[in-house]
Symmetry: C2
Subunit: 316 residues, 2 copies
């Protein structure tokens, strides 16, 4: 059992695309403090490991070692959690196949748990976010790419070697455009921020519009607005197909979406809902018991999930 | 803890499409006895319940009540396992939304566990079949339709209301032919025994060829043989797409296929493999750790899984 007193807290770290964030969070889920630092991935392994250690040290110096339950670190990449090794990371190739967990544990003199960042975000949403009332959920992170996390019976479903939840490369258009992963017509080519920018370019709306800009455009009553709304329709329909598949596969009560595209919810969600209902009789049969909803914690989800890992492991 | 002595056994029942089978199986997985009786579903609720009870009674009379650990019953339909209620069954509509488990428990004076038949088959394969060495697997049952079962951490992943594993109605051809489920281009329209018969009809090979007959035809060096091989190619490609999705989603070590189409393995499996590899980088990255393989127990899988349920529940 976990003794619950005020001083007990955990540290969660989220190694994101542009910065490293770390937070001290107590067992009740109160965020005590959050720190953030830019990370220059190009500086290599030593710099990144040093940044992680120093962020944790900063929080530990303030909140003490006595009440520190553990440390969780969310990393963009595939993790073999039992071994504490990153097997593949596009952003951090120099951390691949080295004993990152053990190295951090050694430098900090405290046990560290590594976790995939989308898995950590899913766990964070389950603990303190939109999934608080359920034991099973799927999270899709719609960002540069499309990632995902699966929480089953309150725990992360990681798969055999930590590669579960790779929803971005499931097929939604079997004869669609080729994807860097070797497949074609991947969800990621239709329902990511990157895909929105690419579609806006194809529709001659602009060279490098952000998803946010295409969202604002969609509010306009103009030809450009019409084109922007078409982009969000395609986005929603692709997402609806994958969600229909996931609902048929899992029959979970909750499917969460997160990422910078959420402000466009009003434009893509109706299409997503329509296609998900049309393509999944499981969804139609369980409408009152199945929700597709925005995630609640924004980019803090990964911090909460990472911090929760030590407690989850202790309760095993 | 379960005392393991010779006399300990469980009874598994599998309520199939054309007959009811029941077996006494000991804790080591030895099939002590199997009985089978034709079931006329048209006779209604009383007849079916009576058949189940009498099959169980027959085995119990022979092997005794002393060593009987429990009784599991696999049923074609969606089951709310905690309530012991069948919410939907095409074959047994008169058993829907009545307290089947409690009624059987009352009549037998012994606790009964209900389970979906494909889930029971997946569990059987995990216990004594092709999945003995893993804790996580997916089973696809390729029969009249396409069903499925998911074993995660050694347990059945049932979903919120017992509808998980509905792989047959995942989309493989987004603009494909309509399906009775409301979707179009479902896996079931391409990779079931029924689909093989329908494709053989479309290819003018015959009106009502069985999958077995289309398999034999595929061995011929003739125009008909060519057409039959095309059917198995389409079958394999559809299956490959869904398997790629499942591998991306679960990253499990094992994906099993069962059903009367298995004799055509040599004709569909190469296409299935090719498409699964092409569409799933997870599969390509884990070829040494991921297997797509035939199930091992044939139509006995459901009996083994049903019998295993009481022990699994006791170990909870």
């Amino acid at each position: 059992m976990i003794p619950e007193h005020m001083s007990e807290y955990a540290i969660g770290v989220d190694l994101g695309g542009t910065n490293l964030r770390a937070a001290a969070i107590d067992h009740a889920g109160t965020l005590l403090e959050k720190i953030s630092a830019p990370t220059n991935y190009r500086e290599g392994r030593e710099a990144v490991l040093g940044d992680i250690v120093s962020a944790i040290d900063q929080l530990r110096a303030k909140y003490g070692t006595e009440g520190l339950s553990g440390i969780g670190v969310g990393v963009p990449g595939f993790i073999r959690v039992n071994e504490g090794v990153i097997t593949n990371s596009n952003n951090l190739p120099y951390l691949e196949n080295v004993p990152v967990r053990d190295e951090l544990t050694r430098r900090l003199g405290a046990r560290v748990i590594l976790e995939n960042d989308a898995n950590a975000a899913a766990l964070g949403e389950k603990w303190m976010g939109a999934g608080r009332d359920v034991e099973d959920l799927v999270l899709l992170t719609l960002g540069t790419g499309v990632g995902g996390g699966i929480i089953s019976s309150g725990r992360v479903l990681r798969g055999h070697v930590g590669m579960a939840g790779e929803f971005g490369h499931t097929t939604v258009v079997p004869t669609g455009n080729p994807c860097g992963c070797g497949n074609q017509g991947c969800l990621e080519k239709h329902a990511s921020a990157t895909a929105v920018t690419a579609m806006a370019r194809l529709m001659q709306l602009g060279e490098n519009l952000t998803a946010q800009q295409v969202c604002e455009l969609a509010r306009e009553q103009s030809e450009a607005g019409e084109k922007a709304r078409t982009i969000w329709r395609v986005f929603g329909e692709a997402l609806g197909l994958t969600l229909a598949t996931l609902i048929n596969v899992f029959n979970f009560p909750l499917y969460l979406l997160s990422g910078g595209v959420l402000p466009a919810w009003e434009f893509f969600a109706p299409h997503m809902e329509r296609v998900a209902q049309q393509r999944s009789f499981t969804y139609r049969a369980t409408l009152a018991e199945t929700r597709i909803a925005p995630a609640a914690l924004g980019n803090a989800a990964g911090l909460f999930g990472a911090a929760y890992l030590p407690w989850l492991e202790a309760a095993r």
